[in-house]
Subunit: 228 residues, 2 copies
């Protein structure tokens, strides 16, 4: 019954609210580097852009704040968060703890279909010439792979940590020749997963993250200490 209707079914109950949409848009703007650290965010301005009142904007800002992407000060407003050198390094320490572990789970558990999605993401990352898309494709590849681990909480932590440094990574990918190395490393990690070699995938992921940190340190002219 209703066979034809069911084909066009969408879960209308799960459509995004205004505040969800605004959250996504602000998050994108921040992690892409379009909105810079320290930049102030006026509720009224955002509300005008999306043709809504300040209420959904405020809810979006609350969520961004609890993920650390913006800082709110009572009666003063919100600004895009910045990262100190120590905080920057700490984000990488967290990635280094979680991502190799998760990729090991993924290598062991990932389904054939999920692997194919990851491979598609990897190839898109390797062939895309529009540098504006590299950052997003980079994240997509990692997420596609990590999805196979079946560890939603780990993934949430990784995603929120990655958000904090994404603008730096994007700049480094575009402004240096970081893409060459990243493409090669992605391919190797993917292949290890395809072979079900969790140890190798984990080791490569660890190396990939360390390389990313070192490249960024060099790019930013910062001779900070090595990752633990």
């Amino acid at each position: 019954m209703y066979d034809d209707l069911k084909k066009r079914a969408v879960d209308l109950a799960k459509t995004a609210s205004s505040s969800d949409i605004i959250f996504d848009a602000l998050r994108d703007a921040i992690i892409s580097g379009n909105m810079k650290a320290g930049e102030s965010i006026r509720q009224e301005n955002i509300a005008k852009i999306f043709n809504v009142s300040r209420i959904p904007v405020r809810e979006a800002l609350k969520k961004l704040e609890s993920q650390g992407l913006v800082k709110n000060e009572r009666y003063k407003g919100a600004i895009v968060s910045s990262l100190s050198d120590a905080e920057f390094k700490e984000i990488y320490e967290i990635r280094l703890l979680l991502e190799p572990t998760v990729v090991r789970y993924a290598a062991q558990n990932i389904s054939k279909e999920a692997l194919e999605i990851a491979r598609a993401c990897c190839e898109e990352f390797s062939t895309e010439t529009d540098s504006a898309k590299w950052g997003e494709l980079n994240r997509k590849f990692h997420e596609a792979l990590y999805m196979g681990a079946n560890r939603p909480f780990h993934l949430k932590i990784i995603n929120e940590a990655s958000d904090r440094i994404d603008s730096y990574i994007r700049a480094q990918l575009v402004l240096t020749d970081g893409m060459t190395k990243a493409r090669k490393e992605h391919m190797e990690i993917l292949e290890a997963c395809e072979k079900g070699d969790g140890d190798r995938a984990a080791a490569l992921t660890r190396q990939h993250i360390e390389d990313s940190y070192n490249s960024l340190m060099e790019f930013m002219g910062n001779n900070s200490s090595k990752l633990a």
Copy 2:
């Protein structure tokens, strides 16, 4: 100038907003187990309790949702989140990754004063007879120690993960003899930190978390597989 006034200075700009206060109260109610998983949260009811409109309540709920403590469904409302067995285990996997690492940093970096605070917390945990306070004191001890690591992002992740399972831990501490073991293990971890023995502190912390998981599994009559 103003010497006497400065003695009574408080940073009024940092006083909590209504939504902050409501967030804290709801969080306490949830992690204490006072509000049970699946229980619905009516905005209007909470608003009445705090004598405010629904607006600050909604902002508190947004923050609770982004930390996973409640689930919101559009036009239906919020309920206290539950944890599947797999999710429960995953929280422990995360603790097992982060806490031994953090306690190692703490053993190496913690200041004399911070150690004394941790010791005070440890002793309070050991001597408190009011079982209703055990859960909070348990968290306080761990946090006091971890503060010494100077890793605010790690700490935030640990705290949010711990929030998700705190109601179970409190029940287990009160309804079994878990306190005996916990008190002994806390003391040993603290002593390792006092000696600056990071490896030992990390190993003990790992054991402490595994013990906690196993006790809880037994307590809940769940023969789930061991932690990785």
